[in-house]
């Protein structure tokens, strides 16, 4: 993994994510504006409050009706100018609640799915490093169905990291695991934070998880965002 100085440099250089978005589906509206810097930003809120919708908007999986989203100097959404950069061009990693590993591929091929799409010069990590970091080396030749819940989530984390994301989005990555497994995975998340310097947004309804990892916490309630960094 990277030396501490280069991690510190990466954290210093991490671009800001700034957004002001409005998305409506049926009677539900998410309206959120914030400027998020380096480190881990926790987003908390009760079930159905719009946390996952907000993350999907940031990832580019949903198209907002109004607003803008910038990452550093890149404008990824600007509805006034009809600009929308889709998920596959954003270079953000996303870890889903239940991993969403490809069932037809081995763990190794899952891990390398995004990595293979990168220009060799832009790959920040190798399979061996990530397998070591997340302790998944013995699982590489297995199929996702042969993994436990905790193993699946570690592979999902590894898959997102190997894609060398500019921003790592975590959508309740531990919510489907029991407490024992949560306690196993949380240290891995902390290691990712400390050893990679990739800015992260960690969405969860469990305040204890967010407190353990996050440098700042935003709250979503009924589609509205508030807290340090929220600009509306």
């Amino acid at each position: 993994m990277a030396a501490p100085e280069s991690v510190a440099a990466a954290q210093q250089a991490a671009p800001e994510l700034a957004f002001d978005l409005r998305f409506t589906r049926g009677a539900f509206t998410v309206q959120a504006a914030a400027t998020i810097g380096r480190g881990v930003t926790g987003i908390c809120g009760p079930s159905g409050s719009g946390k996952s919708t907000l993350l999907a908007l940031i990832a580019g999986l949903l198209k907002p009706q109004h607003g803008s989203l910038h990452f550093g100097h890149d404008t990824l959404v600007d509805t006034a100018n009809k600009r929308f950069v889709p998920a596959w061009q954003r270079h953000f990693g996303l870890v889903f609640q239940d991993g969403q590993l490809f069932p037809h591929l081995s763990v190794r091929d899952n891990l390398l799915y995004g990595w293979r799409r990168l220009e060799p010069g832009t790959r920040r990590y190798e399979l061996r490093q990530i397998a070591e970091l997340l302790d998944i080396a013995p699982l590489l030749d297995r199929r996702p169905l042969q993994l436990s819940g905790g193993e699946r989530q570690r592979v999902a984390l590894g898959r997102a990291l190997l894609y060398s994301p500019r921003l790592l989005l975590l959508d309740e990555p531990l919510s489907s695991l029991d407490d024992r497994l949560k306690q196993q995975i949380l240290p891995f998340l902390k290691r990712i934070k400390l050893e990679t310097g990739i800015p992260m947004i960690y969405v969860s309804h469990a305040l204890a998880e967010v407190d353990f990892l996050a440098d700042r916490v935003l709250t979503v309630d009924a589609g509205r965002l508030s807290g340090a960094g929220a600009t509306r």
């Binding site: 990832a59 580019g60 999986l61 889709p86 998920a87 596959w88 061009q89 954003r90 270079h91 953000f92 990693g93 996303l94 889903f96 969403q100 490809f102 069932p103 037809h104 799915y113 995004g114 799409r117 990168l118 199929r143 996702p144 169905l145 042969q146 898959r159 997102a160 894609y163």
Partner: protein, 239 residues
């Protein structure tokens, strides 16, 4: 089995017609199935019903409509002949088209169901890993829909082998040109002393249908296992 040259001819023609009919249905069926499974548009119900229509109509009706439309005096048939020199009515190519029309719902239905069963978050996961839409389709959607596509392909092939009514109405019963296996059986039952030949071809048809259905079952199961939808420990992979 000792078949006469005419019987071999019917078998070879049936196989050729079924092969090309399946070849037509495969890409068009996958495209339409995806469209019906994943997109909402006005008139979707109507398109869906139109696709299924040949399944519930008497087979001779689509055949007759094909003749009206694509016969040499029909508007499209006349244009095809005048512009490209293509004649479909009363030719083996017409038999391919009639078979494809009748078997098309059997391709679309299982493939549509397979597309609907795929968790779309898997496709989203692929797109957040830098895969553009066509690559997501090729590397995630299509492999996960493979059991449905294989089942649809084998059903289409089997249905085309047995196609009778539409073929008879559109391309007739011309030995060596449009007399497929079912038409040959029909013809033998109408000539004195043809019972033995009809019996042989009936046996052959049953054997072919059995082989196709068993192959469909085995290939689908094997593909599901390869895709990780089954494993040796049970349906959902739990011990």
């Amino acid at each position: 089995m000792n078949l006469t040259p005419e019987e071999w001819q019917a078998l070879a023609l049936s196989t050729r017609v079924a092969f090309f009919a399946t070849l037509i249905c495969l890409p068009s069926g996958i495209a339409l199935a995806w469209w019906l499974a994943r997109r909402d548009f006005p008139g979707k119900l109507l398109v869906d019903a139109l696709v299924q229509l040949p399944m519930v109509l008497p087979p001779v009706v689509p055949g007759y409509l094909l003749l009206l439309l694509l016969g040499t005096q029909g508007p499209v048939g006349h244009w095809l002949e005048a512009t490209f020199g293509i004649v479909l009515a009363f030719t083996w190519k017409g038999a391919v088209l009639a078979s494809a029309v009748m078997a098309f719902p059997l391709m679309v239905q299982p493939v549509k169901l397979a597309f609907r069963m795929i968790d779309q978050r898997l496709e989203q996961a692929a797109s957040t890993l830098g895969a553009r839409p066509w690559r997501v389709f090729a590397t995630v959607t299509l492999p996960l829909a493979a059991p449905g596509i294989i089942a649809g392909t084998l059903l289409t092939f089997s249905r085309s082998l047995g196609e009778f009514g539409a073929t008879m109405a559109f391309v007739g019963n011309i030995p060596g040109e449009t007399r497929t296996l079912p038409l040959a059986i029909y013809s033998y039952t109408h000539v004195p002393g043809g019972e033995a030949a009809a019996m042989r071809l009936t046996g052959l048809s049953i054997a072919l249908a059995f082989v196709a259905l068993i192959a469909s079952h085995l290939i689908t199961r094997r593909t599901e296992r390869l895709l990780g939808q089954f494993d040796s420990r049970g349906r959902d992979g739990r011990a």
